[in-house]
Symmetry: C2
Subunit: 223 residues, 2 copies
């Protein structure tokens, strides 16, 4: 840890920073690679030496947004004790964290649609970010008693749920994202209801069957 950054690493960092600033100021499409290279003080070809394509520069952005979300979630998780309040708080924090970047979130879904895109959350390059996202939801569940098998799958499920909300939000043009907020309130209630239901010992057979199905459907798994 804490390596001294090599020359190449410092150049790379300069490019990322230049890109982040320009993306924020002018948007992704309006920012040309030539502008990024200029702002970073390198040639166009050199920028491509570090980032094989323009959208790889976005990865840095996603990391930033995730960190903002995680930070905003900390006080919520400290204060709230019930599952419902914790999930609600974290989802609200998520909405606030991404609010300034609707456009970039849309870009993420754009690439998520393409399994081969290096920006798909299923792509190894972004697997880390996804895992960190799931980690956050694991925190949400901390303190909620439930069967082990369920606890193992829930973080990933909740992360997927949060992505669904984001997808809705991207298309939501109601003032102040009122619709999305409403959706969050209601869906959190639903989700928590389902979790509590699923935790009920009487439903163990159904739960096991469902979890098994989910596992079978996971992309990593064997057929």
């Amino acid at each position: 840890m804490a390596e001294i950054p090599s020359k190449g690493e410092r150049t790379k960092e300069r490019i990322v920073q230049a890109a982040l600033e320009l993306f924020r100021r002018d948007g992704y499409e309006a920012t040309t690679m030539r502008a990024v290279a200029d702002a970073a003080g390198v040639s166009l070809g050199n920028a491509y030496y570090y980032f094989a394509s323009k959208d790889l520069l976005l990865q840095a952005f996603y990391q930033e947004v995730h960190e903002a979300h995680a930070a905003a979630a900390v006080p919520v998780l400290e204060r709230q004790k019930t599952l419902k309040a914790r999930l609600l708080g974290v989802m609200r924090a998520k909405l606030e964290a991404i609010a300034p970047y609707r456009h970039f979130s849309a870009l993420m879904f754009k690439s998520a649609a393409d399994p081969k895109s290096p920006l798909s959350p299923f792509h190894p390059a972004l697997a880390t970010i996804r895992r960190e996202g799931e980690q956050l939801f694991a925190e949400v569940l901390r303190g909620t008693r439930m069967p082990k098998d369920l606890a193992a799958e829930l973080p990933a499920l909740l992360w997927t749920y949060s992505m669904g909300i984001v997808l809705y939000w991207i298309h939501d043009d109601s003032p102040d994202s009122a619709r999305t907020k409403k959706l969050i309130e209601h869906s959190v209630e639903l989700v928590v209801g389902c979790i509590q239901l699923a935790a009920n010992p009487l439903l163990r057979p159904l739960r096991r069957r469902t979890l098994q199905l989910l596992k079978d459907l996971q992309f990593g798994a064997a057929t």
Copy 2:
């Protein structure tokens, strides 16, 4: 109806046909607008006179695929009487219809992520195709007795459900899409179970509340 096509219309049709053929043969990205124009026997500028952008040419593709699905669904809907068998058959037909075009389906989701894209199913230009899709699911429901309020919302919900399946399928690299098939079998059961549950008169209050929420969340509606 049945107008005699004007000269412009015939030119437009020639361009679409050329595009369809090249897209099929070489894929979307590998097909250049110059190649399409050449194949259609028009100049590049002329092609742009009819299609303001390359991806507008894809609309024709989606229409074709939808028609193939609708056609494949006809025998299913004639033979099958139970809701479950009808839905299952139509979903299987869907998978078969899109099978040769995984790549194009991915492209659709790519644009669906961007609310402003002319290829988003929420965009007016594609609203017709979406309505036809919902219409097909309305057919699936024909013969199933259920409350009016539920019947009004279900086609759109089922269409959304089918889109979810397609999204899964795009990422599914299991042999012969085995995973997606499994998902269809299991989720159809789940969906039908939910519908039957929702139709139960005892659950009317919950159903009404849920349907109201769904309506509120619809993008067309007032806040």
